[in-house]
Symmetry: C2
Subunit: 199 residues, 2 copies
């Protein structure tokens, strides 16, 4: 149910086409909600039917049609209602650690590979998010800059503060997972030393 609000939120920065949004979901926004174009286009239709967004046609070159959507006042209202809502925490889904708790059926090497993959995953993630956070802080992020347009310095500071919290939290999470995996790997080493030769 968050997809519609992810779209509304993105459109509250600036009007965009389905294609623009798809790319957004593949970049910055994607760290908090990801979606493919096959979800986005039908959702845009539904949002238009609900009068929360407004579509207009443009043409690129000779024939290529582009549909650019803008958020309506009703859309802004719906978005504000949603952000103001008590956050809904979804059911836990942690397939990696689920694998891990049943990995006593696998070999120590398999477990080691699992933890190394976990570490790599979060290193990659951290290294991809950091530049985005930095670009936002340095005023080099296009869509965030558009969001700042027309806002007072006070409001601009809040927009930037919230982004800093959100991306910062994501980076901290990645760093936690990296440190966790490293500690687990060291514990595995110790386990192997303790039981070396026995059994």
């Amino acid at each position: 149910m968050s997809l519609r609000f992810a779209i509304l939120g993105s459109l509250s920065s600036c009007p965009s086409s389905g294609y623009d949004l798809t790319r957004q979901f593949g970049l910055g926004l994607g760290w908090f909600w990801s979606a493919s174009h096959s979800q986005i286009y039908p959702e845009l239709k539904r949002l238009e039917d609900s009068k929360l967004i407004d579509g207009s046609f443009t043409t690129v070159g000779e024939k290529l049609e582009k549909r650019v959507y803008s958020i309506t006042p009703a859309g802004v209202e719906a978005l504000i209602t949603w952000v103001t809502d008590h956050p809904q925490y979804r059911p836990n889904r942690d397939p990696e650690r689920l694998q891990l708790i049943f990995s006593d059926l696998a070999s120590v090497d398999d477990i080691r590979r699992h933890l190394e993959a976990h570490q790599r995953h979060y290193v990659d993630r951290r290294d991809l998010v950091r530049p985005i956070r930095d670009a936002i802080a340095n005023g080099e992020h296009d869509r965030v800059q558009k969001r700042l347009n027309g806002k007072s310095p006070r409001e601009q500071a809040m927009t930037l503060l919230l982004r800093e919290f959100a991306y910062g939290g994501d980076i901290e999470r990645a760093e936690l997972e990296i440190a966790w995996a490293q500690r687990a790997l060291r514990a595995l080493d110790e386990y192997e030393r303790r039981y070396a030769g026995n059994d």
Copy 2:
């Protein structure tokens, strides 16, 4: 797709009924994968059709039928294949921080409430997971004890080590989120001081 393996994994500790599994998903296992009985019963049927588990009937009292499932050798094999697989990281879904980045449309008080709810959520979570982790470490967790049965001391140590990693990681994550929310709340205070009276 992890549901079938969550069930297989749970059955690899000891045979259980759908009802037992439902409770398991509501307790320990639920921290890594949660599911309702309406997902579990049909999945058990599918697993039985695939010969990965074996169902037998028991009667409780006079009439009440109970279907107890055990994992088959083919099921153990399928489970091992899965735990040995490279972990699959799912698309990001972080509705809370998604709300947060668009909360520049809301009031500072709304943001404060959001962060306080976030903190409470993870305090509750931490306080619920810790006793489970401790019970496992102290040998007071029934299903984990059953899993240890018939294992060598070396194997038992690995089972317990993996649980410690998994639950420990979850607790650390909760503590990170609590600290993050507290820092964000302090940053909000500072924001309000800085802009007091202006605007």
